[in-house]
């Protein structure tokens, strides 16, 4: 463990902006939820109705997690189910960023050759992640006002983060590169989410198999129990130990799976598009399969909502009052597709940023020094960044339509839900366009695209709760997407979004043609 202190300081120095930012924002979310519930449902009756109807139906429990009470804190806790997911996601990314990414870039070698213990780099990344999680937990409690409930909620978030920091640590040992390690870590997270969702939708004990559920079974502000935290701690310790054990049994830079030999030549790599296909196909496959699985899983959970609707006259009345003739299942699916749109946009940004990665690792340079012109080279990647999210959305629509359609005996749901999913594509494409524009015009600021996506996510999640003005909400492209299925469709917003996406992309390509390469 020699050198641990210095390595921790190195990580803190590198993440001095990012780390406090995500800790603060995520810690504030539950307090924001609580404040808005206190305002929107001020009476016990209103909250009880909400808890029994909207929050208690299986499809919502599948998405967010179970509801245990009708106090403000209990409602906020269920709403913080997504916060829990984001905390876990960030922990996976942070640990891989400071372990496998460093090795991948060859910087770990530089550090490992100094007086640094064999376990120190991995331990430093975990210490920082765990420390950040604990600070996040305490801040969550502080923002909500200290009580046993808020402290338990904060620590539940923190321990979910700690478990997935350890998951990230194991993933980082198994693969040779950061990309596959991230994919592996996120796949584990996705699986944990699906298991929890399925368990909570059916009310079976299946959820206990998912560490994500443990963070919610502490039941803050209700029947509080600290035991699940112990389980999280045990699992995290076990995984961290496994990661440490693996890390000393492999070479620096190596994975556990040795690299195989490749072909001695190629007849298929004929041009910039073929190269882009080779570099993008893994991403495309991963996102498409992931979206399909989520669609299939949640399509099955939707019918639970219908049952709740049929057996619940209050709920029927509530929705009749909300009007629009929009059924509860449609509302649920459109909410789900709203989240899928953000995820699809994240994929678009990720795919477009491959271009920047190619440039900054100097792999673009030898290609651009051949007969390949800049715009065709960039277009190879842009095609995937635009069409990839469309394919992924098509997959989630098809998945939802298949299982939901089979449930209600109407396979006409397949084209209907594919259509609804594809209506999200223009909004996602604007983020891709923005990324291409940044790449062409302000290449050093391409990372800003992630910040903009985070702002869109926040506006969608808490904008309405904070009662921000419509003008502010309108800044997010996702505000303009019609609520499909069930909602009304007007072509104009979709056309405008598509035009914005095209203009931004064109501006980016124009800029890239004129700027220096390799800056």
């Amino acid at each position: 463990m020699t050198g641990l202190r210095h390595l921790i300081r190195l990580i803190l120095r590198r993440d001095r902006v990012l780390l406090p930012l995500w800790v603060l924002i995520l810690a504030a979310l539950p307090a924001v939820y609580a404040a808005s519930f206190a305002e929107l449902t001020p009476t016990d009756e209103a909250r009880e109705l909400y808890a029994r109807t909207t929050a208690g139906i299986p499809s919502i429990e599948a998405m967010l997690g179970p509801i245990y009470g009708s106090s403000v804190g209990a409602l906020a806790t269920q709403r913080a189910g997504l916060t829990l997911l984001i905390v876990a996601l960030i922990n996976v990314l942070v640990v891989i960023r400071h372990t496998r990414t460093e090795e991948d870039a060859g910087r770990r070698e530089l550090v490992a050759a100094t007086v640094v213990g064999r376990h120190a780099p991995l331990a430093a990344a975990l210490v920082v992640a765990v420390g950040a999680d604990l600070v996040l937990g305490l801040l969550t409690a502080a923002f909500m006002g200290f009580s046993s409930g808020s402290l338990l909620l904060g620590l539940s978030l923190a321990f979910a983060g700690i478990v997935f920091a350890a998951v990230g640590a194991v993933a980082a040992q198994l693969t040779e590169n950061a990309g596959p390690a991230r994919g592996l870590g996120l796949a584990v997270l996705g699986l944990a989410y699906l298991i929890r969702a399925a368990g909570d939708a059916t009310g079976s004990g299946l959820s206990w198999a998912s560490p994500l559920a443990w963070g919610q079974y502490t039941q803050p502000f209700a029947d509080e129990t600290w035991l699940p935290l112990l389980a999280s701690f045990g699992l995290a310790a076990l995984l961290a130990g496994l990661a440490g054990w693996l890390s000393v049994r492999r070479d620096v830079g190596g994975g556990l799976v040795p690299t195989r030999l490749g072909p001695a030549g190629s007849t298929s790599l004929t041009g910039p598009f073929a190269l882009a296909w080779r570099l993008q196909r893994g991403l495309l496959t991963g996102w498409s399969v992931g979206f399909l699985i989520f669609g299939l899983a949640f399509g099955g959970a939707v019918s639970g909502a219908t049952e709740a609707f049929n057996g619940n006259p209050e709920l029927a009345e509530l929705f009749a009052r909300l009007g629009g003739g929009v059924s509860l299942t449609d509302t649920f699916i459109s909410t789900l597709l709203g989240i899928a749109a953000i995820a699809a946009a994240a994929y678009g940004i990720q795919a477009a940023l491959r271009m920047r990665a190619e440039e900054s690792t100097m792999r673009a340079e030898p290609v651009l020094a051949t007969g390949t012109a800049r715009v065709p080279w960039a277009l190879g990647h842009v095609v995937f960044a635009v069409a990839g999210p469309i394919v992924a959305l098509l997959m989630i629509g098809a998945g939802l339509g298949l299982t939901y359609g089979a449930d209600v005996g109407d396979l006409g749901q397949v084209p209907r839900l594919i259509g609804a999913a594809l209506a999200q594509a223009p909004a996602a494409a604007t983020l891709t366009g923005l990324t291409v524009a940044l790449f062409g015009l302000l290449p050093r600021l391409t990372g800003v695209a992630w910040g903009i996506l985070a702002i869109c996510l926040l506006l969608g999640q808490i904008g309405a709760l904070l009662q921000l003005s419509q003008a502010v909400l309108d800044l997010s492209p996702f505000t303009h997407t019609p609520h499909l299925p069930g909602g009304e469709v007007t072509a104009l917003p979709l056309v405008v979004l598509a035009v914005v996406a095209v203009v931004l992309t064109a501006a980016g390509l124009w800029g890239f043609r004129r700027r220096d390469v390799g800056v």
Binding site: G262, A264, G265, L269, T270, G371
Partner: protein, 293 residues
């Protein structure tokens, strides 16, 4: 077309850093031209301008008779480039990269490709992430040398190669020269430059400080002389660092004053004399010094 590369008064700034400060460079068609300078002197920046990857702030650059920025793609079909620090795609094999780059340049000679793989002792089936620095360099070299092009632009191509491979590289460049190709070779390895290059340009702080054949450049520097004289001399006009020890003298003299100085010595009667021509190292040290400031 007499000049493959003609650059004059090139300026390029990055923020407050002046990378190029009025650089001149002339590479004649069919010659191997050594491009020398200390680290950070602007060699790679010049090459990137020539490849149309960077746009110069001012000055003119002509490459194979065209404009490197405007005619980039057309010109790139006629040249091959080996970067100083080759990075490969981790999931592509070396053979795939060679074929890709060759095809993007407009095709490569399969026989030549096989022959070069043999000579450089390179396994094309390894994935990019599995290659060492030297082997990554070889991938880029094979891709460039197997392409049928007029001009090779090589940015420190032998960094990371072992001495045996360096020798193979020299043979290859010598063959390229025989077959009439033009080579711009940026290098720090003086023996390589001395063996391969017809002419060299030395740059410092983004400016060209010397340009010419090695013989020309030697004339610009000093020869070391030590002699045993019949009659002791205490002063010799026009020499540097004179050390007198009885009848023995040691000094350095500018090469263009060598004749006058020798006349002066023979007048005093020379019993023995050794003369050392300037080594390349001395030549470069003289030009490199002060670059760091």
């Amino acid at each position: 077309m007499e000049n493959a590369i003609l650059v004059s008064g090139l300026h390029k700034t990055f923020g407050r850093t002046h990378a190029l400060n009025g650089l001149d460079l002339t590479v004649r068609t069919g010659e191997v031209h050594g491009f020398l300078g200390p680290n950070g002197s602007g060699k790679s920046t010049t090459i990137r301008v020539l490849l149309g990857l960077l746009r110069a702030d001012s000055g003119s650059a002509r490459l194979l008779g065209g404009d490197p920025w405007k005619d980039a793609t057309a010109l790139h079909r006629r040249l091959a480039y080996v970067p100083g620090d080759v990075t490969l795609w981790p999931n592509l094999s070396g053979g795939e990269v060679i074929d890709l780059l060759g095809r993007l340049r407009g095709g490569l000679n399969p026989q030549r490709r096989a022959e070069l793989l043999e000579r450089f002792d390179l396994d094309p089936r390894k994935k990019g992430r599995a290659y060492s620095k030297g082997n990554r360099q070889k991938v880029a070299l094979v891709a460039a040398l197997a392409s049928d092009v007029e001009l090779l632009i090589l940015d420190e191509p032998t960094s990371g190669l072992d001495p045996l491979m360096e020798e193979v590289f020299r043979e290859c460049i010598a063959e390229e020269k025989t077959s009439g190709r033009t080579v711009l070779l940026s290098s720090h390895i003086l023996a390589e430059v001395e063996q391969l290059c017809d002419r060299v340009s030395i740059i410092r702080n983004g400016q060209t400080v010397e340009s010419g054949t090695l013989t020309d450049l030697r004339h610009l520097t000093r020869t070391s002389i030590s002699a045993d004289l019949a009659t002791p001399l205490t002063t010799i006009p026009g020499v540097h660092d004179l050390v007198v020890d009885g009848t023995r003298v040691r000094f350095e003299v500018d090469t263009d004053r060598l004749d006058d100085t020798l006349k002066h010595l023979t007048a005093a009667g020379v019993r023995s004399l050794t003369s050392q021509p300037p080594t390349l190292e001395e030549l470069f040290m003289r030009h490199y010094q002060g670059a760091a400031r």
